[in-house]
C-alpha cells in the first residue's frame, strides 16, 4: 500500500493547481457562465498544452496516463477550481473513440483541437445507459437525446442508438442533415443541449456497444466524483475562512463550539469522500470496479449534499448570493448527484452487486 502520488502525478497536480488558480476567479467564472460559449477556448487549449487531456489516456492511445488515479487527479483539480471546460466530454468520447481504434480523432482531442461529445441519455430514461427510442436504420439516426454536454461547442456527436444489431455507437458531425440542438445552461454552470435527430446520416462505429459504454461511464463516474471532491475541498476552505473572519456576538463565528463541531463533522466526511474516490480509482478496471463505483457514488451523494448545505448554512445570507464563490461550488456538488446515477440509484446497484 502506498497513498502518495508518483512524482509525475504530483507534478501534474501542482501545475494544474497553479494554472487553474491563476485563471479562475469567481468573477471570471461568472462571466464565462453568463456568456454563450460557456467556457474559455484559451484555457481549454492551455489545459491541453499542460497535458491535462493526455493524462486521461494510456500511452498506447497517445497519452501518458489513463489510470483511475490519473483521472481522479485531473478532475479533482477542475472541481477545486470550478473549471467549466469540456474535459468530461474529452474523457468519455475520447476514451470510447480510442478503444474503437480512432487514434486520429483522439490525437486531436488530446491536443485540444477537437471536441466530441457523447449523446446517450434520453428523455424519460432517467439514468439508463441503453438507448430506448433513438434508432439507427440504414445508416440514418432518428431520435431525441438529452443533456448532451457542451453540445454547442462540439464538432462531432457520438450517439447511442438501437440498431439492427443492438446498442450501436454512431458518429455524426455538427451541422448534419436533420440534426438540431436546443441548448441551455445547467444548474452547475455548464452547458448542455437536447439533440434531435431526424433521419440524420451517421457513421456506425460499433455494434453491441453496451459493455464498452458501461466501462466508459464508470470512468466518467469516477471523474465526476473526483470533481465533486475538489469542489468540496473549496467549499470547506471558504467556510473555514468565513468562520475565522466573520464576527458576531463580539467574536469570530469559529469560536462557537456548536459550529466547530459541525466543521469537524464536515472534515471527517471530506476525508471519507476522499477515501471513497481513492477506492473507486484504485479498483477501476478490476472485477470489483462496479461495486466500488456504486459505493463511492452513494457516499459522494450523501457527503456532497451535506457539505453544500452546511457550507451555505454556516455562511448565512452571504452563502446564498450568486456573486460569492460558494454558490457555484454548492450547485456543482449537489448537481453531481444528478449525473451518472444518484445516491439511491447507486445504493440499489451496490446492494444488487453485493448479493451476487
Amino acid at each position: 500500500m502506498n497513498f502518495t502520488l508518483t512524482e509525475d502525478r504530483q507534478m501534474m497536480q501542482d501545475s494544474l493547481r497553479r494554472f487553474l488558480t491563476d485563471r479562475y476567479s469567481a468573477e471570471r467564472r461568472g462571466a464565462l457562465i453568463a456568456a454563450e460559449a460557456g467556457f474559455d477556448r484559451d484555457i481549454w487549449r492551455d489545459l491541453a498544452d499542460l497535458g491535462a487531456v493526455a493524462a486521461l489516456f494510456g500511452e498506447d492511445q497517445g497519452g501518458f496516463g489513463g489510470a483511475g488515479f490519473d483521472i481522479a487527479l485531473v478532475f479533482e483539480e477542475l472541481g477545486r477550481a470550478g473549471a467549466l471546460e469540456p474535459m468530461m466530454e474529452a474523457l468519455i468520447a475520447g476514451g470510447l473513440l480510442a478503444e474503437m481504434g480512432h487514434g486520429d480523432l483522439v490525437a486531436r482531442i488530446i491536443a485540444g483541437e477537437l471536441i466530441v461529445t457523447l449523446a446517450y441519455l434520453e428523455p424519460d430514461g432517467r439514468y439508463d445507459l441503453s438507448p430506448r427510442t433513438t434508432r439507427l436504420t440504414e445508416d440514418r439516426l432518428s431520435g431525441h437525446k438529452s443533456l448532451v454536454g457542451h453540445a454547442e461547442a462540439a464538432d462531432l456527436f457520438l450517439v447511442t442508438a438501437l440498431g439492427p444489431e443492438g446498442v450501436t455507437l454512431a458518429l455524426v458531425p455538427r451541422g448534419a442533415d436533420g440534426l438540431s440542438l436546443t441548448a441551455y445552461p445547467t444548474a452547475d454552470g455548464m452547458r448542455a443541449a437536447e439533440l434531435r435527430l431526424d433521419a440524420t446520416p451517421a457513421n456506425t462505429l460499433l455494434t453491441g456497444a453496451l459493455p464498452l459504454l458501461e466501462r466508459h461511464i464508470a470512468r466518467a463516474t469516477l471523474a465526476c466524483m473526483a470533481d465533486t471532491l475538489g469542489a468540496m475541498e473549496t467549499a470547506m476552505a471558504l467556510t473555514i475562512t468565513h468562520l475565522k473572519t466573520r464576527q458576531q456576538f463580539g467574536r469570530p463565528l469559529g469560536k462557537f463550539q456548536v459550529l466547530q463541531h459541525r466543521m469537524a463533522d464536515l472534515a471527517i466526511e471530506l476525508e471519507q469522500a476522499r477515501s471513497a474516490v481513492i477506492n473507486a480509482a484504485g479498483q477501476l478496471g478490476t472485477n470489483q470496479e462496479a461495486r466500488h463505483i456504486s459505493a463511492a457514488k452513494n457516499l459522494m451523494g450523501r457527503t456532497a449534499r451535506l457539505m453544500a448545505e452546511e457550507a451555505i448554512q454556516l455562511h448565512g445570507g452571504i452563502g446564498m448570493t450568486a456573486e460569492y464563490a460558494l454558490a457555484h461550488f454548492a450547485k456543482r456538488m449537489v448537481m453531481a448527484d444528478h449525473k451518472f446515477g444518484d445516491e439511491d440509484h447507486h445504493l440499489a446497484r451496490f446492494i444488487a452487486l453485493s448479493a451476487t
Binding site: 441519455l121 428523455p123 424519460d124 430514461g125 432517467r126 439514468y127 439508463d128 438529452s146 443533456l147 436546443t182 441551455y184 445552461p185 445547467t186 444548474a187 452547475d188 448542455a192 437536447e194 464576527q247 458576531q248 456576538f249 463580539g250 456548536v258 459550529l259 449534499r305 448545505e309 451555505i312 448554512q313 448565512g316 445570507g317 452563502g319 446564498m320 448570493t321 450568486a322 456573486e323 454558490a327 454548492a330 450547485k331 449537489v334 448537481m335 448527484d337 444528478h338 449525473k339 444518484d342 445516491e343 439511491d344 445504493l347 440499489a348
Partner: protein
C-alpha cells in the same frame, strides 16, 4: 383532547372552499401550481380579493378590520388556500408590522397605516439585517439622529425581501450608540420615496433577485413615525419575530410541496416502473410525510396555547426549526425525483424557452431547492432558534 373539527369549523372550511372555487382566479392558481414567479400585480390582485371578503388579515382583531380567527380557523384557511394553489399572503404588512402597530403604535399610526396595509396602498418591507448584523441582530449600526421634528437616518439594511416592490420599510435603527446593544435601538417607519433611500437587488444562487440591499443616506424621517418609545425598539422587534414565527412552520407550503412531489414521483419513470414504486424513494417520501403529519399537530398545539393567552414564545422556535427542515427535505426529494432532468436551468425570463427540454413540473424544482436553503437562515437562523430553545425552554 379531541382531534375532530367542530360543526362550526367544518362549516368554515366549506365556506372557504366555496369562496376559493368562485373567486380565486385560474391564472393565479396555475402560476402557483407550476411554481412560476408571481408579479407584484398578482399579489395585489389576490390581496384585494381577500380584503373584499374581510379575510386578508385573519390574525388581526375585528376592531382593526381583521377576521380575528382562532388558531384552528387560521389553520383551516391555510390548508384550503394551499390546496387550491392560492398565492401566499405577503407577510410584511399583515403578519409582521400590523400586530406591532396594534400593540405599540399610536392611535394616529393605527388609523393611518393599518387601513393602507389592508387596501394595498402600502407595500411594506423589513429593515432588520445589516451586513455586519445577521444572527447578532442587536449589533446593528444604522443610525438615526434626532434633528428637530425628524430623525436623520444613515446606514444600510440587507436581505430585504421584495424590497423592490415596497413603498414603506419598517426599520430597526440605533438611536443611542452609548447604550448596551439591545437598549439603544428604535423602531422607525420610513417612506421609501424619501430622498436618500436607494434599493439595490441581490442576485441569489438560484438566479432570482427577491432580496435587496437598502441604503439610507441622510434620510429625514418624521418623529411621528417612531413606533412606541425611543430606544425600546428591541422589545417590538422580538414581539414581531415571535409573530413571524407563528407562521413559519410553513405547514401549508410543506403540504403543497408534498403534493407536487407525489405527483412528480407518479409521473417519473424509474427502470421498468414508476419512481413512486421504487422502495428507496418511497421510504424517503413516507418518512417526510410522517414528520409533517406530526408537525402539523405540534403547530396547532402551540398556536392554540398561544390563542389561550400564552404568548407564542420560545416554543415557536421549535416550529421554525422543524418546519424549515421538513420544507427543505421536501425540496431535496423533489430535485432527486427529477433525476437528470433537474440539471437544465432555464431562466424564468425566457417564457416558453423550456419547451421540449424537460417536463413542465421540472422547471422550478432545482431553483426552489437552492432558494429554500434560505429558510434555515432567515428570520433568525436555525442555530439562533436552537439557542433560544436551549435557554428559554430547557433552562440550560
Amino acid at each position: 383532547m379531541d382531534l375532530t373539527y367542530t360543526a362550526e369549523e367544518t362549516a368554515f372550511r366549506e365556506e372557504v372552499r366555496a369562496f376559493l372555487a368562485e373567486h380565486l382566479p385560474r391564472d393565479l392558481s396555475e402560476k402557483v401550481r407550476l411554481g412560476r414567479p408571481l408579479s407584484k400585480q398578482d399579489h395585489e390582485a389576490w390581496h384585494s380579493i381577500l380584503n373584499g371578503r374581510g379575510w386578508l388579515a385573519g390574525n388581526w382583531p375585528k376592531a382593526f378590520g381583521g377576521a380575528e380567527w382562532t388558531a384552528t380557523e387560521r389553520h383551516i384557511f391555510e390548508e384550503e388556500t394551499t390546496r387550491a394553489h392560492a398565492p401566499r399572503i405577503v407577510p410584511f404588512g399583515l403578519t409582521m408590522l400590523g400586530p406591532v402597530l396594534q400593540h405599540f403604535g399610536t392611535k394616529a399610526q393605527q388609523e393611518h397605516f393599518l387601513p393602507r396595509i389592508l387596501n394595498g396602498e402600502h407595500w411594506w418591507c423589513q429593515g432588520y439585517s445589516e451586513p455586519g448584523a445577521g444572527s447578532d441582530l442587536a449589533s446593528l449600526k444604522t443610525r438615526a439622529v434626532r434633528d428637530g421634528d425628524d430623525y436623520v437616518v444613515t446606514g444600510q439594511k440587507t436581505w430585504t425581501t421584495l424590497g423592490q416592490y415596497a413603498n414603506w420599510i419598517f426599520c430597526l435603527v440605533r438611536t443611542d450608540p452609548t447604550a448596551k446593544a439591545q437598549e439603544g435601538i428604535s423602531f422607525l417607519l420610513i417612506d421609501m420615496a424619501s430622498p436618500g433611500v436607494t434599493v439595490r437587488p441581490i442576485v441569489l444562487l438560484d438566479g432570482g433577485a427577491e432580496v435587496n440591499e437598502v441604503f439610507f443616506h441622510d434620510v429625514r424621517v418624521p418623529v411621528a413615525n417612531l413606533v412606541g418609545e425611543e430606544n425600546k425598539g428591541w422589545t417590538y422587534a422580538k414581539f414581531l419575530l415571535t409573530h413571524e414565527r407563528t407562521n413559519i412552520a410553513g405547514i401549508g407550503f410543506s403540504n403543497a410541496g408534498l403534493e407536487t412531489l407525489k405527483r412528480i414521483a407518479h409521473a417519473e419513470r424509474d427502470g421498468a416502473g414508476r419512481l413512486i414504486d421504487n422502495p428507496l424513494f418511497a421510504a424517503r417520501l413516507a418518512r417526510v410525510e410522517i414528520d409533517l403529519m406530526a408537525l402539523s399537530t405540534t403547530n396547532l398545539r402551540i398556536l392554540s396555547a398561544a390563542a389561550r393567552g400564552q404568548a407564542p414564545g420560545a416554543d415557536s422556535s421549535m416550529l421554525k426549526v422543524k418546519g424549515t427542515v421538513i420544507r427543505q427535505e421536501i425540496n431535496d426529494l423533489t430535485r432527486r425525483a427529477l433525476g437528470p432532468m433537474a440539471l437544465p436551468f432555464v431562466s424564468e425570463g425566457l417564457e416558453g424557452a423550456n419547451d421540449g427540454i424537460a417536463p413542465d413540473y421540472a422547471r422550478p424544482v432545482t431553483a426552489q431547492y437552492f432558494n429554500n436553503r434560505k429558510l434555515s437562515i432567515f428570520g433568525g437562523s436555525n442555530e439562533v432558534q436552537r439557542s433560544i430553545i436551549a435557554k428559554q425552554v430547557l433552562g440550560l
